[in-house]
Every structure is written in C-alpha cells, then in structure tokens.
Symmetry: C2
Subunit: 122 residues, 2 copies
Amino acid sequence: MSGSCDFFLADCPGRLAVELIADKWTVVVLAGLSAGPVRHGELVELIGGISRKVLTQTLRRLESHGLVRRQAYAEAPPRVEYELTPLGATLIEPIHVLTEWAREHGDAVLDAVSTQPVARHG
Amino acid sequence: MSGSCDFFLADCPGRLAVELIADKWTVVVLAGLSAGPVRHGELVELIGGISRKVLTQTLRRLESHGLVRRQAYAEAPPRVEYELTPLGATLIEPIHVLTEWAREHGDAVLDAVSTQPVARHG
DNA sequence: CCGTATCCCCTCCGATACTG
DNA sequence: CAGTATCGGAGGGGATACGG
C-alpha cells in the first residue's frame, strides 16, 4: 500500500490514461490510425458503426491531447488526413497488449457471460 | 478485410476488450483487486470517489463476465470479499502496461492540453 | 469531401434513504 | 457492513440535415 501507487488508485497518472480511453471509440480510432495517415471518410468506412460527428469529436479530443495531428489540404475536393503524433504512437503498444489479451481470453469472457445463469438474490 | 484484424476494426475481439473497460471505474476497480481479496467498504475507501452503488454495479458486471469472484461470509457484521478470478488476473498485465504508459507519458499529455490555445476556426 | 448544428435517447454516475 | 431503490443530472452518442 502506502502511496506507492503501483496500481493507480486515487490521483495516480493511471487515472489519466483511463479518462483518455474510457469511451466507446477512442481506442478504436487510435487503432485505425496506427498504420499511418488516414482520411476522415476512410476512417468512417474502416471502423464501421461510428458516425461522422462522433468521429470528429473523438479526433478533436485526441488532437487536443497531443495524440493526433490533423492535416488539411486546400484542394478542390477537400481532403483531410489524420495521423498519430509520436506521443500518440506510444499508446499503440498498450492498446496492442489489450488486443492480444482479447484475442487470447475473449472467448472465456463470452463463455462466462453465456454460462451465467446465476442470478443470486433470491 | 478477411479476418486479419491486426488491430481491431469491425467486430474483432478487441472490441470486446474495449466494451469491457470503456467506463469510468472498471479498470480502477480491477486495479484495486489486483493485490488480493478486498472487502466492499475497503474498495470504496481505497479507490476514493466511487459511490457504493456504482462500485456494486461495476463488481456485478465483472462478476458476470467471469473476471471477479464474490465471497460472502454469513457473520454477525456482514462481510463480503471480492477477488480476481484467474481470468480476471490476466487482465492485470494489460492494465499494468497502460499504467506504465501513463507514468511515462502522462506529463506530455497534460502539457499538450495546457499548451493548447489553438481553437482553430474562430 | 469535411464539418457542424440540432434533436433525442439512453446509459453512466452521484446523492440520498432505506432494508437485512 | 453490504446492498438496493429511487431520483435526477450530465454527457455520450446516433440520425439527420445543412453549410463550407
């Protein structure tokens, strides 16, 4: 215990990380950007299920946190590309670990959910 | 597409992981349980800021996903302990990586946030 | 093509009070 | 001490339509 905060409780930096990724799309968007610059519309197609509004919101937040860089080109058909900043790229590793976990244990979770007839209480 | 899904887009298992942790408290609660069995009240004190109701909600969900085990003792002053299941313990590693990231890059994020007077657009 | 505004639902989460 | 019920606020996020 003590205040070591090996694992974040209270106001440790870990809380910041949670606040960053604790929503439906942030991690997915970051993953979508992990391979290189992508256009807005491409991301919508790539991710699937996210609305343009929410995608923009998510990107804006990531941009303001220094994780994503926005590049707009003044062309005839407007073109905007988003890419990870060096800082943003450092988040890919933790996300990758999470993905690995899901690939390995995802079935077990789904199994627990379906095998869950417990409903204590009575 | 195929099912390559090196990084989760669409319905890859990674999405499951996101849905699991994409809320304000899940990761924090898991972290709080990482050191061993803990009582309900202890968790409230330990975490700080979470209400008993929300803690219970979170624990219930984790229980139904097979990540947490609940142990109730029929004693004079009721005592209930929660602990990670073996499956739940496997999630500590990814969380730890995330914590490490925060410890290392948290300042950079906070810096970006404060250095962010941009407000493009007007 | 990119972005924003509006409307609306729905879930998360906190505060309080009450039962076992 | 543990848990539930209830209320209520706040905000995320989807659908749509419109502007640059």
